[in-house]
């Protein structure tokens, strides 16, 4: 049992390595190191004002300070909370409406032009309107994130539900699935791969909208930290904010992939596993 756990841990670390460095770990690490060294030396060379481009060592020290004072954690937590709420609301609505529109042709006919028009407008363009309507409080941010998350989830839920494999439908029908059971136990799970792809895209847009809405005004949040730091000439804090955002985006995606592997082990495996003949 322990060896199995150890092996999975090892495999996890390996995949994490792979995601960052690709196939060639040493070369990747070398590139990263070269970049940091170049940055450090340019910043210290005196050719550039070090306030404009603080050295990595300075950024790290500022990060430690921000973490120690608890300020960074507060920014991160309020960002995460917003992102989570908006993401949950947006993807739930996208899922429900996508499935409903695929199952009910009349609803699809009624709503489709509307949804398509709204989908064509980049959701970032709604930031000023959302602030005008809902102020700079939590609501405008959550609404914006939900709005941006909604569309990719909706499209994929709709397509996945509409294009259910007819063979599966026949198989389930001959096993007694009807009506809502057919929907819950066949059509929805068979649309999972599509829905998951939509949710993964939505994770990216959630982050973009989170930052955009925080940049325009907030009391806390990583985007707000960057905005504030610009006003007080703390470029090192801006870098801390940027790196934090990069880490968050990476961790979201990584957690998502790990969750998939754990809870839906069949996802993506149909194609990659060529089972031998028995």
């Amino acid at each position: 049992m322990n060896t199995i756990a150890l092996n999975t841990l090892k495999a996890r670390t390996q995949t994490l390595n792979k995601r960052i460095f690709g196939e060639n770990t040493q070369l990747g690490a070398l590139g990263l190191l070269a970049f940091v060294l170049l940055w450090e030396s340019v910043s210290r060379s005196g050719w550039i004002n070090p306030v404009m481009l603080p050295a990595p060592s300075v950024v790290v020290r500022s990060a430690v300070d921000l973490i120690a004072s608890g300020e960074l954690i507060r920014h991160v937590l309020s960002s995460l909370w917003r992102a989570f709420l908006g993401f949950a609301i947006g993807s739930l609505l996208g899922l429900l409406l996508g499935v409903a529109m695929a199952r009910l042709p009349r609803l699809h006919g009624f709503l489709n032009p509307l949804v398509q028009i709204f989908r064509a407008i980049p959701s970032l363009a709604f930031v000023p309107l959302a602030i005008f309507w809902f102020g700079i409080g939590e609501i405008s941010k959550i609404v914006l994130i939900a709005f941006g998350v909604f569309f990719p989830v909706w499209v994929n839920s709709y397509l996945g539900t509409r294009d259910t494999n007819p063979l599966f439908i026949r198989a389930a029908a001959s096993l007694g699935a009807r009506g809502w059971r057919m929907l819950i136990f066949l059509i929805m799970p068979s649309a999972f791969p599509f829905i998951i792809a939509g949710v993964r895209i939505a994770l990216g847009s959630a982050l973009v909208l989170l930052v955009a809405s925080e940049l325009t005004g907030a009391q806390f949040g990583v985007g707000y930290l960057i905005q504030l730091s610009q006003q007080v000439f703390r470029v090192d804090h801006m870098f801390v904010g940027l790196i934090t955002l990069g880490l968050l985006g990476f961790l979201f995606d990584y957690a998502f992939v790990c969750g998939l592997r754990k809870f839906l082990p069949w996802y993506g495996a149909e194609n990659s596993h060529a089972a031998g003949t028995h």
């Binding site: 026949r170 198989a171 389930a172 001959s174 096993l175 009807r178 066949l186 069949w266 495996a269 596993h273």
Partner: protein, 316 residues
């Protein structure tokens, strides 16, 4: 949407599932079940009851044949508007515990006939009855094994097999017991926790057979289930199917275009002509207790006869 809507519109209203799922295999006598201890005890030899006693018993128990097709036809329209008759004038009675192979060239409508019996397609003419009642839509009383792998990829083998039982609302504990017996029956006792993508083609089809048998259907409909497998796997699965047949005494309707498969498996072979499919031969190839050896002269004689009936003489 359309296909599913059609299926649902096609749904029979009565539901007698509760009583039907009480026993896994009612044809297995209680005394034998007690002696075996479980239903999946291997019994390697294939025995057939004499057709006379089998017929006598069927007549005594039910007055009508299990499946009855009368003047059955299916016509469909292509997108360009031409009308195509897939099968025509099919009159066929299948008795309980027969193993019928529907044999015919590609495109002769054998799958159409099977799909109509399964309830996926409605006949455009004629009548189609199961146990004296019109077939109108798919039902767990007719288990189906498809040519393409149809196991649900998001479910484990266990959950795939239990799918039909779950639809009836059977408790998890009883489902688990039933699934265990079925996995034993198809000779795959240890793969319950695996996912379909981890299985070979032959294993997938054996699980599909177990899934179709789980609801204890009165007939098992098999649509070229071994066509996608390699020759060795196919022969091994054919032997296993005969074994399953011997142990469950299920009525089987098996569609194939493979002549030797039909000869090896069937207690009765029905040959369909090219489109529109009509019955051109209907006979019982084997005398009782005759071993079915693929290399025997009798096998070759049957092969020649069927090849001629299909019109492909000597080739497969």
């Amino acid at each position: 949407m359309t296909s599913e809507a059609a299926l649902i519109a096609f749904t029979p209203t009565e539901d007698d599932s509760a009583s039907r799922f009480g026993q896994l295999f009612p044809n297995h006598s209680p005394s034998q079940r007690a002696k075996d201890g479980r239903i999946g005890t291997p019994k390697r030899t294939y025995r057939r009851t004499s057709p006379d006693t089998a017929t006598a018993r069927t007549v005594a128990e039910t007055e009508c044949p299990l499946i009855e097709c009368r003047d059955l036809a299916h016509t469909y329209h292509t997108r360009l508007g031409t009308q195509i008759t897939a099968i025509a004038d099919i009159t066929l009675s299948i008795d309980a515990s027969e193993f019928v192979c529907l044999l015919g060239p590609s495109g002769c409508g054998k799958t159409t006939l099977l799909n109509m019996i399964a309830g996926f397609l409605a006949p455009t003419a004629g009548t189609l009855r199961l146990n004296g009642e019109d077939i109108c839509g798919p039902d767990p009383d007719r288990g189906v094994v498809f040519q393409d792998y149809s196991l649900f990829p998001w479910l484990t083998v266990e959950s795939n097999i239990a799918y039909g039982l779950r639809m009836t609302g059977m408790s998890a504990a009883r489902r688990k017991a039933a699934v265990g017996a079925l996995l034993d029956l198809v000779g795959l006792p240890h793969i319950g926790a695996q996912y379909p993508f981890e299985l070979s083609g032959g294993m997938k089809q054996r699980v599909a057979i177990a899934r179709a048998l789980a609801t204890d259907p009165s007939v098992l409909l098999m649509d070229e289930p071994f066509a996608a497998l390699d020759a060795l796997t196919r022969e091994s699965l054919q032997r296993q199917l005969l074994d399953i047949k011997a142990r469950t005494q299920k009525t089987i309707l098996f569609v194939t275009h493979n002549i030797s498969e039909a000869i090896f498996l069937a207690s009765r072979i029905v040959v369909l002509s090219s489109r529109p499919g009509r019955i051109v031969e209907d006979f019982r190839p084997w005398a009782d207790f005759q071993p079915r050896k693929r290399t025997s002269p009798e096998f070759n004689r049957l092969y020649e006869r069927l090849a001629q009936a299909i019109g492909v003489e000597g080739t497969e």
